[in-house]
Amino acid sequence: MNQHYISIRHLSKKFSKDFVLKDVNAELGKGEILGFLGPSGAGKTTTIKILTGQLRPTSGEAEVLGIPCDHIDERIYEQIGIVTDVSGVYERMSVYDNLKYFARLLNVPLREIDPLLKRIGLYEHRKKPASKLSKGQTQRLILARAILHRPKVLFLDEPTSGLDPSTALEVHKLLMELRDEGMSIFLTTHNMEEATKLCDHVALLNEGVIVEYGSPEEICLKYNRNKKYRVQLTDGTRHLLEQNSQAAEKIASWMASGRIETLHSCEPTLETVFLEVTGRELQ
């Protein structure tokens, strides 16, 4: 049986009179990545804050590593790592000293800092004050600090927001490595490509309500009602074909004559699913 590192049951959160989360349910197992996908204001950050003990739920239950979130104290933070848009670094301190400080707080041997700096590509900058780092480097430092103590669960709130594509790719690669090493990752994003690439399961969140939940493939296939195929031939012409016997014959003849350059199915993306379900854009 898969052990659930995060378990969310009927979670709701109200600020003043407005619900920002309504009856949210989700689970995250060991070595999995669960993504909460939605536009700004959907309730993604609120969910992370509740799960990490920074906010209390109005109703429902949420557990992280078996500990109810309204009973979280500082001991849980030795088993989880958190990266949010408000995670700060000590700007006057060097990259190394930032990690050294948290290594001492979290009882991590100092010898583990250099290998981690090499892994995230900041070893060359280890003596540089954190204030001199670029945004991408700062984000990598924050991520390094969050994984310094090898947490069982890593929370990431929009981990690649504002990063250039190559830095975002590096972050994605690192997250997949961490997942393969057995770390469970809960991330929020409004980037559907990121969610599709990284997540084992996603929850599409709109105005505090999960409108779809499952693996990205399952969700996309569920909404693949008008099955179509996009074909590009060797002569450069492009064809959009529906799934029927005529199209099958056409494709078969093109294949037989070696005229097909590319052939793609046209199932919807998470973004188009979200648009179809909610009528809203993700961005």
Binding site: E74, Y77, L105
Partner: protein, 245 residues
């Protein structure tokens, strides 16, 4: 409120970082200013009285008050506000640091620096003390440094930025300094001064200079009460700061 355990490893790490911050260019000016202020007062009062009266106790009292306000209250408030402004306080709170560890880790370096400055002020002011006078002087200055640091932390919790820390602490600093300074002119101010840690240390230095006991039982109780209330308020605000804000 349930008392949290204090891990010496975490406490030492926080103290080291906070201690280094006190020597940064943002903060080191404050103790230097207090020392300079003491020297200035000593020089001015010496010139005005032409040596007819020993004004070293008064110069020292003013220097100590300035130190308690600038190092104790202002530096602590600004350092904490900086942690909030740069979002490192929230990061610490989600890195297994409890309120008591953060509190002690922030308090101890400030008290140490403030105490060293208070000792230096005594030498600069030319305040001659024997061992029997140094002991109460150190005891009461350490106690008042601790109170001022906790008050600074309370201001720091309220301040959103370092700049706002300066804005909101200034009126309080002026009130805490000026009431003892002008307590000799008004019975009401004298009574109020007797209920403030600044007033108690102001009188204590004069008493030490006159070979009298530094403080009576009421003064000691006031200091203890102000320290305990300040600590309770800070811990409550620290816990509250992590939830629903």
């Amino acid at each position: 409120m349930k008392m949290k355990p204090v891990h010496l490893r975490k406490l030492a790490a926080i103290m080291e970082v906070k201690g280094k911050a006190l020597f940064s260019k943002n903060f080191i000016i404050m103790p230097i200013f207090s020392l300079g202020f003491t020297f200035l007062m000593k020089t001015i009062y010496g010139a005005v009285t032409k040596g007819a009266f020993d004004m070293s106790a008064y110069a020292l009292a003013l220097g100590v008050l300035m130190n308690l306000m600038m190092v104790g209250v202002y530096c602590t408030a600004a350092a904490l506000a900086e942690e909030k402004e740069k979002n490192t306080l929230r990061t610490l709170m989600t890195s297994s640091v409890n309120g008591l560890e953060f509190f002690l880790g922030s308090l101890i370096p400030v008290v140490l620096m403030s105490t060293v400055v208070n000792v230096l002020c005594a030498f600069i002011a030319g305040f001659d003390m024997g061992l029997s006078q140094w002991i109460p002087y150190l005891a009461i200055t350490v106690a008042c440094s601790a109170i001022s640091a906790v008050i600074g932390m309370i201001f720091g919790i309220f301040a959103k930025t370092q700049m706002s820390a300066g804005t909101i602490t200034t009126p309080a600093l002026l009130i805490l300094m000026m009431i003892p300074m002008f307590s000799g002119f008004s019975g009401t101010l004298e009574k109020i001064s007797g209920l403030l840690f600044t007033g108690i240390i102001f009188n204590a230095i004069a008493n030490i200079g006159n070979a009298l006991p530094a403080a009576d039982l009421k003064g000691i109780l006031v200091l203890a009460a102000e320290f305990l209330v300040s600590v309770a308020v800070f811990l409550a605000l620290y816990r509250k700061n992590g939830f629903e804000r």
